[in-house]
């Protein structure tokens, strides 16, 4: 389990992480989402021991990460811009990873050659961005990590390779109980793989829940009110409302039953509760935090 408590990270005067608290349960796939500049990459760098923190704590299995060699042997990350030595081939990098991570599996390395059709003797710098990303997954998955930290992991991968990569990662989650923390802006993809989600904004966690809790906790309603009700009643706790003809689309921070119960006094002609996508939840939650698409006339 990863426990991040009141973590603060400052760059001179600017607090990139301003008291972040979140928990990644063991064996979970945790999606870390947030707008640009929210502090996701900074949090990941703190979690992997690259940056020291200025306050709070970051614990993995109850132990602090900072300078904890034994712990870092069990966790590995793939940053957004994966680093490799300029002249190195995948094979050269493999030798370094093999020396660094005790659990490194040569058997898996050989098996994954099928999944990643790349010449392991070519200098990595000559590979395309997508192939470099494949190389990163190849080597990382061979380390058999207990904790896998991914920052924009499938950027640059083609749709087939995305599925391939997620399939391999999720296999590790189910078979080996690997805990995955993944930061991405691709919310549709995260929705398919994550079971927990945390939303980060301005260096703070806005909310974190399991995906099902999150979806249970917010609902989209399509409602047609009787003719005498022209506007959405002000008493309803609506986060967002829009109208197309007589059909009102309402977003409420309630579960479906509670929302329907609130509507019933108004005798709607039609009322239908639809679950929200992760992208919609993200947009409406951040809309509440003054981060929304603005209507700007150019």
């Amino acid at each position: 389990m990863i426990e991040i408590r009141d973590t603060v990270k400052r760059f001179e005067q600017f607090a990139a992480l301003d008291g972040v608290t979140l928990t990644v349960p063991g064996g979970a796939v945790y999606g870390l989402v947030g707008p640009n500049g929210a502090g996701k990459s900074t949090l990941i760098r703190c979690l992997t021991g690259v940056y020291g923190i200025d306050g709070g704590s970051i614990l993995v299995d109850g132990e602090p990460v900072w300078e904890n060699t034994a712990l870092k042997r069990r966790m590995i990350g793939i940053p957004d811009d994966w680093y490799y030595f300029l002249q190195s081939s995948i094979r050269d990098m493999m030798r370094l990873y093999r020396g660094m991570y005790p659990a490194f599996s040569m058997e898996r390395y050989e098996k994954l050659k099928e999944a990643f059709p790349i010449d392991e003797r070519l200098p990595i710098r000559r590979l395309s961005k997508g192939m470099q990303k494949q190389a990163a997954f190849w080597l990382t998955l061979c380390c058999l990590p207990e904790y896998l930290i991914l920052d924009e992991p499938v950027d640059g991968l083609d749709p087939v390779m995305r599925r391939q990569v997620w399939s391999l990662v999720l296999d590790d989650v189910t078979q080996r109980g690997t805990t995955v923390l993944v930061s991405s802006h691709n919310l549709r993809e995260l929705e398919d793989v994550c079971d927990h989600v945390g939303i980060l904004d301005h260096g703070k966690v806005l909310l974190e829940r399991s995906l099902s809790q999150l979806q249970d906790n917010m609902v989209k309603l399509q409602v047609v009110f009787p003719e005498d009700v022209t506007e959405v009643p002000a008493e309803l706790p609506v986060l967002h409302a829009s109208r197309l003809g007589r059909v009102h689309t309402l977003i409420m921070r309630k579960n479906a039953q509670e929302a329907m119960a609130l509507l019933s006094p108004y005798h709607p002609v039609l009322a239908d509760a639809i679950p929200l996508t992760l992208e919609e939840i993200f947009i409406y939650e951040l809309g509440g935090a003054d981060y929304a698409v603005k209507d700007i006339v150019l």
Partner: protein
């Protein structure tokens, strides 16, 4: 191949990373190895086993020893400076980009482990290279019959100690650099900073303080300039026999390695300090010019002060000094210092912030710097430390190095309190005259004398001053004038004897040489004769008698009398120094005049001159030169006259029997008579 943990907890050394360092940068390591193999064993093999049939075997061996000693000396210091920097740049370059920092620090190795692994990789490379070079060269020497293996030991310890120090120093600098090019810049600056700042302060002192002269590099500053100190301390000495031939190398000619040892220890301390800085260095500082937060103000103000002292003085010399013909002005100096200081300060700020928009950000620091520079200028102008008027109390002076250059030059070291007191009186008289002249140097007078005074005080401090005193005949009549006091000192036996080698330093005199001039021709010619040790002793005895009798140092303040009486013939004595086993021969020369009656008699008795007419005074020499010049000028004038004498329109055509025809432009006026 799993990473081995060599520390109790957490990897302090990563074998995988170490091997990665060795394999990844192999071209650099190979280049270093090949360089040394070529410089040492290959060249030694060629020298000792090559077809040098015309060279004596002993000479070959001597040459081989000489080469290795030279390579282990200054050459190795230069190599170590460059190699230390290159190795540190290579192994710690990962600290300069965010990606590589992220990669390295996410690995399961503690920061100590990363540092120690990379650091040891560098050490291992140069140690292996040096050991292999040592082994191969030793084998070649053993096969060639070279016995003096201590020279090889000297080379090995010298190059290894120096490389270790400069490598540690460069690693220390690398800990502060967030950019790859900042590291060699810091390294270069720190290598020469102490001596540079010292010389800039001396230059400022010389500009502002009357008489201030000090270009000496204090011992501490020398130690803080490692390349300079090591270069000096590793210079070998040579032994010579009485014929000036070089003696075979002996172990006492091999330079000591004390300085190398001290620097190697300092290197170890710097390595530990570098590790401490590394542990506190923040990962996000990659890409910053200065990667350590607390060093940033030091960088900002340091660049400002250095720019002010160097560029500011340059600007002042180019502008105000030129404009005012050398009349120093503290306000103008302050303007130059502040202007250049702020350029340096804001330049540093721009580098730190990676932005040109720094003027609003750093104005407070700039104001502080400007205030300090104005205070410095004002302090110099007002001489708040009393540098100009400082004359040490004679009782506080341990020794005095002096030079008095009138027509002859005398210099030496004095410890005699009475004579030192005479010099301090002269020093005070010079300052009294300067004060009386409204603190302006008086350049009026017929003649001048140069006086240099380097006091070493009992406290260990030193005071160095030099002055040019201009004087006229009237000044010599005033017993309290600087000129008069200088004249007294010039005729003092103590001063005269101080110009000769110090008592106790001479083991024995080995001979001498007297120079002759032949002024009988249109231009003079020189010749000379050697004499033996006994003659040297006799001549020196006579010389001492003359000094004690007050015959020495006369006429020094009277140019005409000096030229009339002083001989141009140089008398040189050769001697060996006590305790110097190098076999080196030292020499000293004396200038003498017609007043040296005892010496003239001794020269006659030694058969070196028949009488004083065999000697040539400066006046005679000058007459001869003048005569030659006059004759030369006359010949040139005649040639010029001859060239331009005929009418340009006429040309004389003819042979030895006279002209056959005179052609005048456009007409023929005559023919053969």
């Amino acid at each position: 191949m799993q990473s081995k943990t060599l520390c109790s907890k957490g990897a302090c050394f990563s074998r995988a990373l170490f091997i990665n360092d060795l394999t990844r940068f192999w071209p650099l390591w190979a280049l270093y190895l090949v360089g040394w193999l070529l410089t040492m064993p290959v060249i030694q093999f060629i020298e000792l086993f090559g077809r040098n049939a015309w060279t004596d075997r002993a000479d070959l061996i001597e040459n081989a020893l000489d080469d290795v000693l030279a390579i282990g000396g200054t050459f190795s210091a230069v190599v170590a400076v460059v190699v230390g920097c290159l190795f540190a740049m290579t192994l710690f370059s990962y600290l300069t980009t965010a990606r590589s920092v992220g990669f390295a620090h996410a690995l399961p190795v503690r920061r100590e482990g990363l540092f120690i692994t990379h650091f040891l990789a560098g050490c291992a490379v140069f140690l292996f290279t040096h050991l292999l070079t040592l082994g191969l060269t030793a084998a070649i020497w053993a096969a060639a019959g070279v016995r003096m293996m201590s020279v090889l030991g000297f080379w090995f310890l010298s190059i290894t100690g120096q490389t270790f120090f400069f490598y540690c120093f460069a690693v220390f600098c690398a800990m502060f650099a967030g950019q790859i090019l900042a590291m060699p810049v810091f390294y270069g600056i720190f290598n020469g900073l102490a001596v540079g700042i010292t010389q800039l302060i001396h230059a400022m002192g010389e500009m502002f303080f009357y008489g201030y002269s000090n270009w000496d590099i204090p011992a501490a500053v020398e130690w803080l300039t490692p390349a300079l100190k090591l270069g000096e301390s590793l210079t070998r000495t040579y032994g010579y026999d009485t014929d000036g031939q070089r003696l075979p190398l002996t172990s006492d000619q091999v330079p000591g390695l004390g300085a190398v040892g001290v620097y190697a220890l300092a290197g170890a301390v710097l390595a530990v300090a570098a590790l401490a800085v590394y542990r506190r260095r923040r990962g996000e500082s990659a890409g910053d010019t200065v990667a350590v937060g607390w060093a940033r103000p030091a960088f900002r103000y340091g660049v400002g002060v250095c720019a002010a002292l160097s560029l500011g003085q340059g600007l002042y010399a180019l502008t105000w000094d030129q404009f005012s013909a050398g009349n120093e002005n503290a306000a103008a100096f302050a303007v130059c210092l502040v202007l250049t200081g702020l350029i340096g300060y804001y330049g540093a700020e721009m580098l730190l912030n990676k932005s040109f928009r720094v003027f609003r950000l750093g104005w407070k620091g700039a104001a502080v710097l400007a205030g300090l520079l104005v205070a410095l200028s004002a302090g110099c102008g007002a001489d708040v430390l009393g540098v100009q008027t400082r004359v040490p109390d004679a009782a506080q002076v341990k020794s005095l190095d002096f030079t008095i250059s009138g027509r002859s030059s005398y210099s030496g070291t004095l410890t005699d309190p009475e004579t030192i007191a005479q010099f301090t009186q002269l020093h005070q008289a010079i300052l009294r005259k300067w004060e009386a002249d409204n603190r302006q140097s008086d350049h009026s007078g017929d003649d001048s004398i140069y006086i240099s005074l380097d006091y070493e005080l009992n406290s260990g401090a030193s005071v160095s001053r030099n002055y040019n005193i201009f004087y006229s005949a009237a000044d010599l009549q005033n017993p309290d004038s600087p000129a008069s006091l200088a004249a007294d000192l010039l005729s003092s036996p103590t001063v005269q004897l101080a110009d000769l080698p110090e008592q106790g330093t001479v083991e024995r005199y080995t001979g001498g040489y007297l120079e002759y001039y032949d002024v009988s021709g249109p231009s003079y010619s020189q010749d000379g004769t050697d004499f033996d040790a006994d003659t040297t002793e006799a001549l020196l005895d006579a010389f001492y008698q003359d000094v004690k009798a007050g015959h020495a140092g006369l006429d020094q303040m009277d140019s005409a009398a000096w030229e009339q009486n002083t001989y141009a013939n140089t008398l040189v004595f050769y001697y060996r120094k006590t305790g110097d086993n190098s076999g080196r021969i030292y020499s000293t020369s004396v200038t003498f005049s017609a007043h040296y009656t005892n010496l003239l008699v001794a020269l006659e008795q030694a058969g070196l001159i028949r009488d004083s007419s065999d000697l040539t005074t400066y006046a005679q020499l000058d007459d001869n030169e003048t005569g030659y010049d006059k004759e030369k000028a006359a010949v040139q004038a005649a040639a010029t006259e001859e060239k331009f004498a005929p009418d340009a329109a006429e040309t004389v055509i003819g042979g030895a029997d006279g002209p056959t025809e005179i052609i005048v432009a456009d007409q023929t006026t005559g023919g053969q008579n």
